[in-house]
Symmetry: C2
Subunit: 206 residues, 2 copies
């Protein structure tokens, strides 16, 4: 039995998308990060880092959304090539996402929306970096269907999480035609629609 502790966040939705793509049944356990539930004692016992998502797979507790994607892909033999260049490209994009795009987007959003006082250099630093990385992805997608080539993989799922929440850092896909086409293609996948519907259903009406 698989449990996912998650909310309607960029990192959470990735795991649900992978589970829906792989047709693995799971139970969704809501963790309302707007109320700080990810810092509550019960949750910290699951992930001392205080972050969603967390996967519990037959009692095995795993954190870090991209590590969960790798685990699910290797468990099923899908969404990640078994060897060769294609496999290395998936890891390259997963780490480009984790170390580059994700912190740029997250920090741009923080300094734009949540900083107790304006920090203009910090806001510009992360916004500029996020936009630069969108440009790199757009150029890559000019000559290929998905972020690592012609196959849809967990690397597309990773990038989709933040593209779905691109309004948070105040960025946009405008002027990025290849990335926009990719986004529309991924968003239209039935598994992606199902995953989004499931995470949005756990957000309480304000």
């Amino acid at each position: 039995m698989i449990e996912v502790h998650a909310f309607a966040t960029p990192n959470s939705v990735k795991v649900l998308i992978a589970l829906e793509e792989l047709r693995l049944p799971y139970e969704l356990k809501p963790v309302n990060v707007r109320r700080g539930e990810q810092k509550a004692e019960a949750f910290l016992a699951l992930n001392s880092n205080g972050k969603v998502p967390v996967l519990v797979d037959d009692g095995f507790v795993l954190t870090e959304s991209a590590a969960i994607l790798v685990h699910l892909a290797e468990k099923t033999g899908k969404l990640l090539p078994q060897h060769g260049v294609g496999r290395a490209r998936v890891f390259e994009q997963l780490f480009f996402h984790a170390s580059g795009l994700s912190p740029a987007f997250g920090n741009a959003g923080f300094f734009k929306r949540a900083s107790p006082e304006p920090q203009p250099i910090a806001e510009a630093r992360f916004t500029t970096e996020g936009d630069r990385l969108l440009g790199l992805l757009d150029r890559k997608l000019a000559s290929q269907s998905f972020v690592t080539g012609e196959e849809f993989t967990i690397a597309d799922i990773a990038h989709f999480g933040w593209m779905w929440r691109i309004a948070f850092p105040g960025l946009s896909l405008d002027g990025r035609p290849n990335l926009s086409r990719w986004f529309d293609t991924v968003a239209a996948r039935p598994a992606v629609e199902l995953a989004i519907a499931r995470v949005e259903a756990i957000v309480p009406a304000a």
Copy 2:
């Protein structure tokens, strides 16, 4: 033939450590990031993201230091368990490093040393986060020898890169006895000593 385009940086040294641990011969191609050589046209042709390290393995160009670690580990069947919980733990730590520790350390260092004007909230945000993550690692290492258990893996190599440069973000291992013990153990490995000597040898005398 393996080429590594690198400098004496936290991410570069990881790749050299892995190559030395695996006893794979390689040619080190210096990219002096203090002079901005990673933004020069010749280098951007190799990595459009303008970052070291880059591995060229028989003509196959791979970026992202952690993706390079995975590639080298899978190529040789070493430093990464083939399956099971141990394997998932390595990916969990690699992504914890890439998405958490590495951006916190890098940004703390930027706002402490390189920001054109002080950004006190930003500096405190990343310094506090870096220190919090050091605490998590220290607690983990209270009950195990290495960051994923009793075996030395590429996850230890990933964390070592930034611990070796912990002065940059103004952080310290003081008061972190388990992490200090781990650091000393890893630093004393002959492969680690060799890798550090090789990257330090390419830094021109100021």
